[in-house]
């Protein structure tokens, strides 16, 4: 079975800006691929080329085995596009939008009407079917846009930042749709700035910066590359450092350990959460006053930062602006509980 998406050595230049610089990408049939990267990394350019809206300067693009540059008209029936900005007609109703698109996708009159109704129901928009899209909320509009992308039951769907600017509830709704699509065998290529989103949805992640791929793998592989779990202890009194380190060593063994002047001790561990109760007890017994005790595991944010760090092919000043790294704070009381992620 051919890859659903196979992109090789893609180059695209806009004036002085090299938007894509030899980008390679493959997505297996039925997989969800997360395309990550800071603003201006070239994510949208890739999607536009795949959706036959833009021609690259050089490179090859195959969608379901069809050459998208030579035969774009054979690719279009296979794909669905949901843009970064909701590309639905504000001045039509939700129903009219979908029925029109179904008609354009060569469905018959009755079939188009049925398909529109079906999608509106599926996306929780049945009640708003007769309302002008202008009156829709951001979340409703995005759902309609997603429905519009699915009108022709595409093999491959491109979602360009589908949840940017959405509230958490709408975002969760979109995530569910993507998961369902994937479960039904549709190949999904998703661009996002939210690493949590990629972590949640994507089977594989490709990190793009300056038009080339700077990292790829499963979310877990990318996280592992940054390093394993670390146990972090923050002392009330930095002066107790030596005593604290002795206790910690006694519990966790001889992992690489570091500390700073503010009384923060960080040590590499395996199975850190399980060690927490004992460590808390021992520290307490040694009369070390602990301000905070946490197991921190690398997030996709860490992987992203590590990959896009200046000096690894990235220009400083690029602003990925992701969420702050998340740490899992576990107090001594709840330490025995294994964490959810």
């Amino acid at each position: 079975m051919p890859d659903a998406i196979a992109v090789e050595a893609l180059h695209k230049r806009y004036g002085d800006v090299q938007a894509l610089d030899g980008l390679d990408l493959t997505v297996e049939q039925g997989a969800v691929m997360g395309l990550l990267g800071p603003n201006g990394a070239g994510k949208t350019t890739v999607v536009r080329i795949l959706a036959t809206l833009l021609r690259p300067d050089s490179g090859s693009v195959r969608v379901c085995g069809v050459d998208a540059l030579r035969e774009p008209e054979r690719v279009r029936p296979l794909i669905g596009l949901t843009g970064q900005y909701a590309a639905v007609d504000e001045k039509l109703t939700g129903f009219e939008n979908l029925r029109m698109l179904a008609r354009l996708a060569r469905r018959g009159r009755t079939e188009s009407r049925d398909r529109a109704d079906e999608l509106l129901a599926e996306f929780g928009l049945a009640d708003a079917a007769g309302r002008l899209v202008r009156t829709y909320s951001g979340g409703m509009r995005r759902r309609l846009d997603l429905a519009a992308g699915l009108i022709a039951r595409p093999e491959v769907i491109f979602l360009d930042e589908p949840t940017t600017g959405l509230d958490p509830r709408s975002r969760t709704a979109i995530w569910k749709v993507v998961a369902d699509l994937s479960a039904a065998g549709t190949t999904v290529l998703l661009t996002t700035q939210y690493l949590e989103e990629a972590d949640r949805l994507a089977h594989t992640v490709v990190v793009v910066d300056h038009g080339t791929v700077i990292g790829r793998g499963t979310p877990q592989e990318l996280k592992d590359r940054v390093g394993g779990e670390r146990l972090e202890v923050r002392l009330q009194d930095a002066g107790q450092y030596e005593r604290a380190e002795r206790v910690i060593r006694g519990v966790v063994g001889d992992g690489p350990c570091s500390h700073d002047d503010e009384g923060r001790i960080s040590v590499a561990v395996a199975g850190g959460a399980m060690l927490m109760p004992e460590l808390a007890r021992e520290l307490h017994a040694a009369q070390v006053v602990v301000a905070d005790l946490a197991v921190r595991r690398p997030t996709l944010d860490d992987a992203f930062f590590a990959l896009t760090e200046p000096g690894e092919g990235s220009i400083s000043g690029a602003d990925p602006a992701p969420a702050p790294p998340e740490a899992e704070h576990v107090t001594a009381v709840t330490a025995g509980r294994t964490d959810q992620r």
Binding site: A51, L53, R62, G65, R76, P77, I79, A86, A87, L104
Partner: protein, 279 residues
């Protein structure tokens, strides 16, 4: 690499291979169908946007009232005589002004990503353009009806027959269709719908007022006469006058039709090229 296209028509989970509905390039009937679907889109929107309808009907009424009662006496000595003179011109002016909406609409569709969605579908590349323009030309019929109805109410009398009136409408529509492509080029070139509107109106004023639409050419200074005589709006207005109130038609109509086709020959390819290039 083996080429396997999976079908898109099939709704079942088991999808047999090799039956994909792949449109052929030269699928003319599909092009017509898609154009009609998108024309429908324009018309549905017209029905929904009362402000657009009001604009289309009210603007010609305002122009008629203003020119006939404000300037009519001064220009022609009698408001009724002037109404007979100016109405065929207002007809032309109305559709030319209304064509600004075409460019603004196209620009909006391009900037909001609506056209991106269309272009990612297996439809004829030019259908979004032809659909929009065709829908707009039908929209202009509303304005034409407004001119005729209100004109008749305030005393305009057709001095020819039904066929001549139909020919006048047909000619004005043909010119409007051709002129739409000029504005469409602005629409697909410029980034902001608002600038399309501004530039279009800058272009409209010398074209409409700089013609014999409101006053006879013989009353103007020589340099202005030179412009008025080459202005295509003058030819269309003359033909429209002849067809509605009597007078010579053949020459003016020929010139108007030649202009219409010349505009199409130049501006349709330019607009298409720009449209296909801008992504």
């Amino acid at each position: 690499m083996t080429t396997t296209i999976r079908p898109t028509e099939d709704t079942s989970t088991h999808k047999p291979e090799g039956t994909a509905h792949v449109p052929r390039k030269s699928d003319a009937s599909a092009m017509v169908r898609h154009t009609l679907t998108l024309t429908w889109r324009s018309l549905v929107k017209l029905k929904k946007q009362s402000e657009q309808l009001i604009d289309l009907t009210l603007q010609p009424i305002l122009f008629l009232v203003m020119f006939v009662y404000l300037f009519g006496g001064a220009i022609e000595g009698s408001t009724h005589d002037y109404l007979q003179f100016v109405l065929p011109g207002v007809l032309v002016q109305t559709v030319v002004f209304a064509s600004v909406g075409t460019g603004v609409g196209l620009c909006t569709d391009m900037s909001t990503g609506v056209f991106d969605r269309f272009r990612s579908l297996p439809i004829s590349r030019i259908a979004p353009l032809t659909g929009t323009v065709l829908g707009d030309v039908l929209r202009f019929l509303v304005a034409v009806a407004s001119v005729f109805v209100f004109g008749t109410i305030i005393g305009f009398r057709f001095q020819t027959n039904v066929f001549a009136v139909a020919a006048a409408v047909g000619l004005v529509m043909l010119f409007a269709f051709a002129f739409c492509w000029v504005v469409a080029l602005l629409g697909v070139t410029m980034k902001q719908p608002r600038s399309v509107q501004g530039v279009s109106f800058l272009m409209m004023f010398p074209l409409t007022f700089g013609s014999n639409l409101f006053a006879k050419t013989s009353t103007m200074p020589g340099w202005l006469q030179a412009w008025v005589k080459v202005n295509p709006i003058t030819a269309v207005t003359n033909a429209s006058r002849g067809l509605l109130t009597g007078g010579p038609v053949a020459h003016h109509a020929t010139v108007a039709v030649i202009w219409a086709f010349a505009l199409m020959v130049v501006f349709i390819p330019l607009t298409l090229r720009q449209y296909n290039r801008r992504v």
